[in-house]
C-alpha cells in the first residue's frame, strides 16, 4: 500500500521517501538491505563505515584476521586467490555487490584478497557492530541475517551450477 502510494507520488509517504539522504538511498538500493524500513536504515547507517580506495589499493589480503564485509557503493573491486604461481582473479564486483561476508559471520581469516581495480567507495559493515545490532534490534538483525543467508545461498547455487564463480570470502 505504502509503496503504491509512493509510486503515485501524491501521498505523505512519497514525501517522506524523498527526504532520504543520498547515503540512505544508496543503502535502500542494495539487495542486502532492501527489506529494511527507513527508520531501520537510519540505525544501520549509524554503524556503517564509509571508506574510499584508489586504484590498486589493497582492501584486505588473504589470511588477514577478518572483521566484516564491504558493500560496493562506487567503483570496481578485484577478488583474487593465491595460486601455484602468483594469484588468480576470481571475480570483479561492482556497485551494489558485497564481499567478505564469511568473516562477518564467523570472524575467521580472509579466504581471498580484495583490491580496488578502480577508484572505489565502500561501506564497511563489521562484526562487533553487527552483533550489537543483533542484540539491540533483533528485527533488523533478523532481516539482515535472512537476506545475507539468501544471497549467500544464491551465490553458492550459481557457483555449483557453474554460472558464476563464488565470491564468498
Amino acid at each position: 500500500m505504502r509503496e503504491k502510494q509512493a509510486e503515485g507520488g501524491v501521498s505523505l509517504f512519497a514525501y517522506r521517501e524523498e527526504q532520504l539522504s543520498p547515503e540512505l538511498q544508496l543503502l535502500k538500493g542494495i539487495p542486502l538491505f532492501s527489506s529494511l524500513k527507513t527508520r531501520e536504515l537510519k540505525i544501520l547507517e549509524s554503524i556503517l563505515h564509509e571508506r574510499t580506495y584508489v586504484e590498486d589499493e589493497v582492501i584486505f589480503e588473504e589470511g588477514d584476521e577478518g572483521l566484516g564485509m564491504y558493500i560496493v557503493l562506487e567503483g570496481k573491486i578485484r577478488i583474487s586467490r593465491k595460486a601455484m604461481i602468483g594469484s588468480k582473479e576470481v571475480t570483479r564486483l561492482g556497485p551494489g555487490h558485497f564481499f567478505g561476508e564469511l568473516s562477518l559471520l564467523d570472524g575467521g581469516p580472509r579466504s581471498a584478497t580484495a583490491v580496488a581495480s578502480e577508484s572505489a567507495r565502500l561501506f564497511g559493515f563489521f562484526r562487533p557492530e553487527f552483533l550489537e545490532i543483533l542484540e539491540k534490534y533483533d528485527r533488523i538483525g533478523a532481516k539482515i541475517s535472512f537476506q545475507l543467508a539468501r544471497l549467500s545461498a544464491q551465490r553458492l547455487r550459481q557457483s555449483l551450477d557453474g554460472t558464476q564463480v563464488s565470491s564468498c570470502l
Binding site: H49, V54, E55, E61, E65, L67, G124, F126
Partner: protein, 386 residues
C-alpha cells in the same frame, strides 16, 4: 610468499619501547591535565559516568526502545531521582556542617587529645621521639590550627570548593552528549585511520571498548558490595558503641568504597576518615577505633580476595610496582589533579599503546600503508603534467 616474522604477534605492549612511550605519554597527559584542570577533570569524570550509565541505556534498547528515547527516559529518571535526593542530601549536609561548627572546638580537642595520647605512647616506647619533643611540637601545631581554623582555613576550604562548581557543571552536559552521540565520535575517530590500519584498529578498539565496559560494570558491582558490607559493619558497631546511625553508616561506607577506586592511596584516605569519625563521635574512642580498623581491614581482604576477582577480574590490571610508581610520579607532576587522574590516564595510554604496538610493528601493514600513500599521490598527480 610466507608472511611469518613480518606480521605482528601477541600484545602491542610486548615492546619495551611502547611501554616507555605509554609511561611518558601518561605523565605528559597528567601535566597537561593539571595545567587545564578546568576541562580535564570534567572530561574524565564525564567519560567515567558515560561508561556507568551506558549499561542502563543499553538495557532499555534491548527492550525495544530506540537510542534517543532510551536516553531521554534515563535522563528523566535521573532528574526525578536527583529532585528527591539532592534536597534531602543538602539539608543533611547543612545540618552536619552546623553540628560540626558548634562542636568544632570540642572535636579538635578530642583529636588533639587522641593525637597526644598516641604520641605519648610512642614516646614512652621510643625515647628518641621524646628527645625531639615530638608530642609538644604536635600539640602546639594542633592548638594553632584550633585557633586559626575558623578564621583562616575554613573560608579557604569554602573558596576552594566553590571554584570547582562552574567546571563541574560541565559534567552533565558532556556526559549527555557522550551518551547521545558516542557512535558519531567513534565514526569521526575511525575516519582518520588510514585504510591499511583501519580493520586492525577497529578490531582492537572494539576489544578494548568491551573490556572497559566490563571493567566499569565490575567496578559498580564491587562498589555496591563494598558499601553494603562496610555499612552493615559500621551500623552494628554504631549500635554497640551508641554512635553513628543507619544513614551515616551508609554514607561513610559509600564514601570509602568510592575512594577505594584510587588504588592504595584511596583505601588509606578512607581508613583515616573512618578513624577520624570514630574519634569525633565517641567520648572514649579506643575500642571503637580498634574495631573500626578490624572491620576496614576485613572488608579490604574480602575486596581483594573475593569481590575483585568476582567483579572486575584482572582484565585491566597493571603491575602493582608500576601502579605505585605512577601514583607518586603523577602526584609529583600534577599535584592533587595528578593523583586523581594518573590511573585513568595510564589506562587510556595503555590502550593507545597496545593499538599502536600491534599496528606499527606489523611490517606488512606498514608496507600497505606506504603503498597506499604512493597510489594516492599517483592518483592526485594524474593529468597534472599533460
Amino acid at each position: 610468499m610466507s608472511l611469518k616474522g613480518v606480521k605482528a604477534r601477541g600484545s602491542g605492549l610486548d615492546q619495551p619501547l611502547v611501554w616507555l612511550g605509554v609511561i611518558a605519554g601518561t605523565l605528559l597527559a597528567v601535566f597537561l591535565c593539571d595545567w587545564m584542570w578546568w576541562i580535564s577533570i570534567p572530561l574524565v569524570v564525564s567519560v567515567v559516568l558515560y561508561y556507568i550509565a551506558l549499561p542502563m541505556i543499553e538495557f532499555m534498547e534491548r527492550k525495544g526502545l530506540d537510542h534517543d528515547k532510551a536516553l531521554w527516559i534515563f535522563i528523566l529518571l535521573l532528574t526525578a531521582l536527583l529532585f528527591f535526593l539532592v534536597p534531602a542530601l543538602l539539608s543533611w549536609i547543612t545540618a552536619q556542617v552546623y553540628l560540626v561548627q558548634d562542636k568544632l572546638p570540642e572535636i579538635l580537642g578530642r583529636i588533639s587529645k587522641a593525637v597526644a595520647m598516641g604520641l605519648a605512647a610512642l614516646e614512652s616506647r621510643f625515647p628518641w621521639l621524646q628527645d625531639a619533643e615530638m608530642g609538644a611540637k604536635m600539640n602546639t601545631k594542633i592548638l594553632l590550627l584550633k585557633e586559626r581554623f575558623i578564621e583562616e582555613s575554613l573560608p579557604n576550604v569554602a573558596v576552594y570548593a566553590l571554584h570547582w562548581v562552574p567546571c563541574m557543571l560541565l559534567v552533565p552536559y558532556l556526559t549527555f552528549f557522550f551518551l547521545k552521540d558516542a557512535h558519531l565520535f567513534k565514526k569521526l575517530l575511525m575516519r582518520g585511520i588510514p585504510n591499511a590500519f583501519f580493520e586492525k584498529v577497529l578490531l582492537l578498539f572494539h576489544r578494548i571498548d568491551g573490556q572497559i565496559k566490563k571493567y566499569f560494570r565490575g567496578l559498580m558491582a564491587m562498589t555496591f558490595l563494598d558499601t553494603v558490607t562496610l555499612s552493615a559493619g559500621l551500623w552494628i558497631l554504631g549500635l554497640k558503641f551508641g554512635v553513628f546511625g543507619f544513614f551515616p553508616s551508609i554514607f561513610l561506607a559509600l564514601m570509602c568504597a568510592v575512594l577505594s577506586w584510587i588504588p592504595f592511596i584511596g583505601s588509606i584516605i578512607g581508613c583515616l576518615i573512618i578513624v577520624l569519625v570514630c574519634v569525633v563521635q565517641s567520648a572514649d574512642p579506643g575500642w571503637l577505633v580498634f574495631w573500626a580498623l578490624v572491620l576496614f581491614g576485613s572488608v579490604r581482604l574480602l575486596d581483594d580476595f573475593i569481590y575483585t576477582p568476582l567483579t572486575i577480574g584482572r582484565s585491566l590490571s597493571v603491575h602493582p610496582l608500576i601502579t605505585v610508581l605512577m601514583i607518586f610520579a603523577g602526584g609529583f607532576v600534577g599535584g592533587v589533579t595528578g593523583l586523581l587522574l594518573v590511573m585513568p590516564l595510564l589506562g587510556v595510554a595503555k590502550v593507545l599503546g597496545e593499538i599502536f604496538g600491534q599496528v606499527w610493528f606489523d611490517a606488512r601493514l606498514r608496507a600497505r600503508f606506504h603503498l597506499s600513500k604512493q597510489l594516492r599521490l599517483r592518483a592526485a598527480r594524474e593529468g597534472l603534467f599533460s
